[in-house]
């Protein structure tokens, strides 16, 4: 699959078309991630992260995870990052923070520690010969790319079979988690302190009143006790 198109060989790996594409995608992902954490403007950071997520999606296709590539673009970039951009624009943040304004030790230690951790991880990965180890694993799963290609629906059909088969219980739990998230988001955005009957006792935004949940008036106390059956 990897023809020696360019006549190059790095560390024993023939550089074919796939390797070039991977290096390009990976380079853009790393570059835009670096730009993301350096940018002062939060909107630019979010847009650089969107670029990085698109590279991730393309790499997922190289790994044979087509459904997840689509999920990445649709859900991560199309929903989550759009949500981020909405919040950034809603909150009207003007100027980003500076590194020198951080607490003293953190400003000095952040970059060296991060680079040290990354260097450690890369060193472990490169010296552990993980590529040979994973090629020599005795028992692998049954979904090799040629196997997946035999299904008419390809990767999507296999994901459907596995998700609703072996992983049905986690799937249902995930839907419950989403329900909890929706309920939580609704509660977090409610106002309390108004006279609105529905909004009394909310957790969210304080518009200057008191919390009727925590500080009920005597009439409310009686009413609640009556409702509880006393």
């Amino acid at each position: 699959m990897s023809m020696n198109v360019f006549g190059l060989e790095i560390f024993g790996v023939v550089i074919g078309f796939q390797e070039v594409v991977f290096l390009l995608l990976g380079g853009i992902a790393v570059g835009s991630s670096l730009m993301m954490i350096i940018q002062r403007n939060a909107i630019y950071s979010a847009l650089f992260l969107v670029v990085a997520f698109f590279q991730f999606g393309a790499i997922y296709i190289m790994l044979g995870a087509e459904f997840l590539a689509a999920l990445q673009v649709l859900v991560y970039t199309g929903a989550i990052m759009v949500l981020f951009l909405f919040v950034i624009m809603l909150l009207q943040l003007s100027e980003g923070p500076q590194l020198r304004d951080l607490h003293g030790f953190q400003a000095v230690a952040a970059w060296p520690l991060g680079l040290l951790l990354t260097a450690e991880l890369v060193a472990i990965i490169l010296t552990s010969k993980v590529s040979e180890q994973v090629a020599n694993v005795a028992v692998k799963g049954s979904y090799s790319p040629s196997e997946v290609a035999k299904y008419r629906g390809g990767n999507v059909e296999v994901i459907g079979r596995v998700l609703y088969g072996d992983f049905l219980y986690p799937f249902e739990v995930a839907s419950l988690i989403l329900l909890v998230a929706v309920v939580g988001a609704v509660i977090l955005s409610r106002k309390f302190g108004t006279d609105d009957l529905v909004a009394k006792g909310g957790i969210g935004i304080n518009v200057g009143g008191t919390s009727r949940l925590l500080d009920p008036t005597p009439e409310e106390r009686t009413e609640r006790a009556r409702q509880d059956g006393y």
């Binding site: 044979g64 995870a65 991560y76 919040v87 923070p97 590529s131 799963g141 909890v180």
Partner: protein, 108 residues
């Protein structure tokens, strides 16, 4: 067609190295930035790096478990983003800031 692309000759170590580098970048972003939203985005970047690592192993071990894991990571990230951004908006409405230096009320 899907079988051909996924029969990649790229060594697994390359994918894991890319994942580690992106994880490190996200980590530096969390430690370096003071804007709550950019910290949150760096955490999302770390989660994506982990997803990449999971998918690389899923591909090289011919397993679907990695892909299932990533589906749930995306789901949980979406739920977390909803709640987290709701919290940030509530924070910003109560105090007109999203700078972590200004929200030190729990500190001694």
């Amino acid at each position: 067609m899907s079988g051909e692309i996924a029969n990649t000759s790229i060594p697994l170590a390359w994918f894991l190295t890319l994942s580690a580098i992106l994880f490190g970048i996200g980590l530096v972003g969390v430690l370096t930035r003071r804007n709550v939203l950019v910290i949150f985005m760096s955490v999302e970047l770390m989660m994506n790096a982990i997803s990449l690592s999971l998918l690389a192993f899923a591909r090289y071990l011919n397993s679907m478990t990695g892909q299932m894991f990533v589906i749930f990571v995306v789901t949980i990230a979406a739920a977390e983003a909803a709640i987290g951004l709701g919290l940030i908006i509530a924070l910003a409405r109560n105090k007109p800031t999203v700078d972590t230096r200004d929200v030190e009320e729990l500190k001694d």
